[in-house]
Amino acid sequence: MRAHSWLIFSLLLACEGVVGDPGSTGSRTVPPIPDEIIDPEAPDDVGASDFRRLSPTELRNSLELITGLTLASGDSIPAENAAHGYDRVSAGYAVSGDQVDAFEALADEIADQWIESGIRGAASCVDVPPGGPAEAEACAREVAELHAELALRREVRAADLDALVGKYRRAEVHEDGLRWLAHGLFRHPEFIYVIEGRGSTPGAGTELGDYDIATRLSLALCERTPDAELLAAVRDGSLENEAGVAQQAERLFDTCSGPTIENFFGQWLELEDTLTASPSDRSEMPEFTDDFIFGMDEEWRAYLNHVVYVANGSFQEFLSADYTVASDKLAAVYDFAELSEEPQRVDLPATRRGILNQPAFLARFHRGDETHPIQRGVFLLKALTCFDIPMEEMVSFPPNTPGLSNRDRWDEHTRTPQCVRCHGVINPAGFLFEDFDSMGRHRTMDGDFEVDASGGLSTIDADSLNGGASASEALAGSEDVAQCFARQWFRFGMARVEERADASSVRRITDRLVEGASLREVLIELTSTYSFRHRRASAMPAPDTGEEP
């Protein structure tokens, strides 16, 4: 298998020679070589990371958790630029002025709500301002004590509280003092940035402290900063052993991970784009209604939730289950089953298996009322086999040659030696789904032509397959796909791209996948890896601003 991976990588290099030096592992180049990642002999080590900003979701979730407020301005945080497809991986993008403005607006809204409706849990603030200066300052200290540990995610020292109260004192009136406090807490660099492994030497891996572990746990599984129970676990020392960490990971997974796991799968398989899958010309596809779009969005979410939280299913089940969870909004596609208004589990015929045979995948890539096998293939290779197609190679469309099926036209269109270098891999993968039309209905005819859904997945040594269901089963049985999924979850969960140094951690997750563990166990496994417990500061030098720090 290892030699095979090299072959694929070499092929990739041949795609116009645009892939960088394989020795280069910086965050700006193609992800590391699969060979090295699956090396079972790789020692425990950890890849480098910079401090990162909380993602928009993390920021909003955390502020609402800490303050107990619902924040309207949480809707207008500019989207983070998703490097490698995940909005938690923001490396390489400078913070924008719009983001910095949004951080200010969030703190302002918290202050507005505090002034308007009081502060949850701060009893001494109830009678202020009528109480006078001493009471006002007691209120300020209580607000600081109540929020500081949650916001800073580290041990709070007297100096921290004094600094916050000092801010309050600078205000001309009590209301402004509360505003100072809100900004002091929620625009603080230690709130907005995940600052971990402080004082570690660049180039060396450092074991993280308990506060940092708590933060990683909570952000990876629930996309929010630690709650009071997790911080209590830090203080009582129960995160110092693996069992204590595992216990908290399981608690978080079982109580708050739902939206985060949905977010991860939604970004990994780009299922979040389902709602924008509308055809450009609806008249070409009259059945592609808003209801249908909502139906396919509803289906993948309900199916994911069922596999992970109801059936306690495995990754293999997610890829190749013989059932789905759909409502009557998808009656046009699932005409073989009784469907009701709410999504419910229905058995599938043998021609359809798993997530990739659902409309959310199949109907997303179409061109007018025709399938788009190239986009299907490129996406599948990238997301499931970690085979990246360089963006340099943007495709054009084939002419509408009469007498040729859609498949044959694409084949003809990509036949030149220059194209074949990549399309020799892409086309056979995309053609496997030709037995599903542009809305995801199973078919045996493509207009006047008999459907030919033969193809193969050369990136996982499955060269001879036929039809979408066979693709799902081949992918589910592949160790390469398991490893790719481990890498994808690593990227989302660790909020950075894996490096060679992370090989043993990726291997550990892969092993759980291959042995058929439940997705719950697999996803939690990340939190017990060496990479999760350590950090290596990036060796990249800081910019020279000509200023003394």
Partner: protein, 441 residues
């Protein structure tokens, strides 16, 4: 009390002032003949031979090119052709302003700074609201993907695409009728600036406790906070009257098949020209393009992508060459019209406190992702660029210069020198030798 005096009175100047000394602005401005503004306009895909006048040499005549709309500026323009670089689409996006084109993930450059950031940082003074302004045709999903500008640390800057956001950066919040004489408003303003100063101080202090490697992220945030402070401070000196704000963005962008540039670019160039003429910034970038759909408003039935590929057989779009050139030139002429909006605005604006027009002291650069090719194969080995504007006398305009294979990065380095940054000895991956034939400094 005005904002600046207030800051000094409150001790804020101690924090704010060192910032202005950070970028060596004084030295750059002192250089004789140095230009004061930079504008880059980046277009999509490759150029065609119709970009070039018949031959190299002095006496530029743009009439038989798709730059014919700029003929009135021919004596103040320069075309440099036959520049060599590497890569295709991705490298074109990454390397156009950085000279570091080997980015792969998200078309990202391998480092910075980009030309616009270098100039913006050097030329900005305390009355400039925005160190630099990045604008691109994009949608709300991952606008950063369309960025072509990078800071010193090599982080990609996220361009703005929503005309109202850009408008607010230049003129201040839309619908903000705050009256400085109202004591409550004045108190809120004081509070906002004091909190900002305090936040800046927090980042600065925390940074000081970190290792050099770990300072990177916070340093970048600190610079952005200072930009926020700059916007507040410079707002007072900013006296341009705001036109009516653009329409709310961007219901049409929800339709992914629509040609975004058609709607965005005219707003973008209008805003960029106002920002430059008003002195809100000295460095602006507009990127246009990003479409694979037909340009129906120009009666062009194919996408720029297919046209640009031309007739490379049935396997690549198959636009017959006679149409490909015609449609390519029509699309480019529309883009030249957009570019000209900025050139016209600068040409019609007298240089404040100096002689001539703003255009005399500006570098307006036109650049495409890829080079000149009969039919393009995603290559940059025959790059060409147009510059309009006198660059303060630093560029030898009114000529078409054949660079005979000199590196594209040498051209970028030449612009760096034309911009007065003669202390910079290399730029990008390969820019080592400025092209003396296009420089008069």
């Amino acid at each position: 009390m005005n904002r600046r005096r207030f800051l000094r009175g409150a001790g804020g100047a101690a924090i704010a002032l060192p910032f202005f000394n950070t970028f060596g602005a004084g030295e750059a401005r002192a250089a004789a003949g140095a230009p004061k503004r930079f504008f880059a306009f980046m277009v999509d895909h490759s150029e065609s031979p119709d970009m070039l006048p018949t031959g190299p040499g002095p006496g530029l005549d743009l009439r038989n090119t798709y730059f014919d709309g700029l003929q009135e500026y021919a004596d103040r323009s320069l075309i440099v052709s036959n520049l060599y670089s590497i890569g295709g689409h991705g490298s074109g996006v990454a390397g156009a302003l950085t000279g570091k084109p080997t980015g792969l993930v998200d078309n990202m450059a391998t480092g910075g700074p980009s030309l616009d950031v270098m100039f913006g940082d050097r030329w900005t003074d305390e009355d400039t609201k925005l160190r630099h302004l990045q604008i691109a045709t994009a949608s709300s999903r991952n606008p950063g993907l369309h960025g072509i500008s990078y800071n010193d640390a090599g982080d990609r800057l996220v361009p703005d695409f929503d005309p109202r956001t850009i408008f607010e950066k230049i003129y201040g919040p839309i619908g903000d009728s705050t009256d400085g004489a109202d004591p409550a408003v004045a108190r809120r303003m004081r509070l906002r600036t004091s909190i900002l100063d305090s936040t800046i101080e927090e980042y600065r202090l925390l940074n000081a406790t970190l290792s050099v490697a770990d300072r990177r992220r916070l340093q970048e945030h600190l610079s952005t906070l200072r930009d926020q402070e700059r916007r507040i401070q410079a707002a007072e000196a900013f006296s341009c009257e705001a036109p009516s704000p653009p329409d709310p963005c961007c219901a049409w962008s929800e339709d992914r098949q629509h040609h975004l540039a058609r709607y965005m670019t005219p707003d973008h160039v209008a805003l960029a020209s106002r920002a430059l003429v008003c002195g809100a910034t000295r460095s602006a970038v507009v990127r246009t393009g990003m479409s694979t759909s037909a340009m129906d408003w120009l009666a062009i039935p194919e996408s720029m992508h297919n046209i640009s590929h031309g007739d490379t057989g049935s396997s690549n779009g198959g636009v017959p060459l006679e149409f490909a050139y015609e449609w390519h030139a029509s699309a480019r002429r529309w883009q030249v019209e957009q570019f000209k909006v900025v050139v016209d605005a600068l040409a019609n604006a007298p240089e404040p406190g100096g002689e001539g027009t703003m255009l005399d002291n500006t570098i307006c650069m036109w650049i495409a992702e890829m080079g000149i090719e009969a039919v393009h194969h995603h290559r940059r080995d025959h790059m060409a660029a147009l510059v309009v504007g006198g660059a303060g006398g630093a560029l030898r305009t009114n000529q078409h210069f054949d660079a005979e294979g000199r590196h594209f990065d040498d051209f970028l380095l030449s612009l760096v020198h034309a911009g007065g940054c003669t202390d910079v000895t290399s730029f990008g991956d390969s820019g080592e030798n400025p092209i003396s034939e296009i420089l008069s400094v």
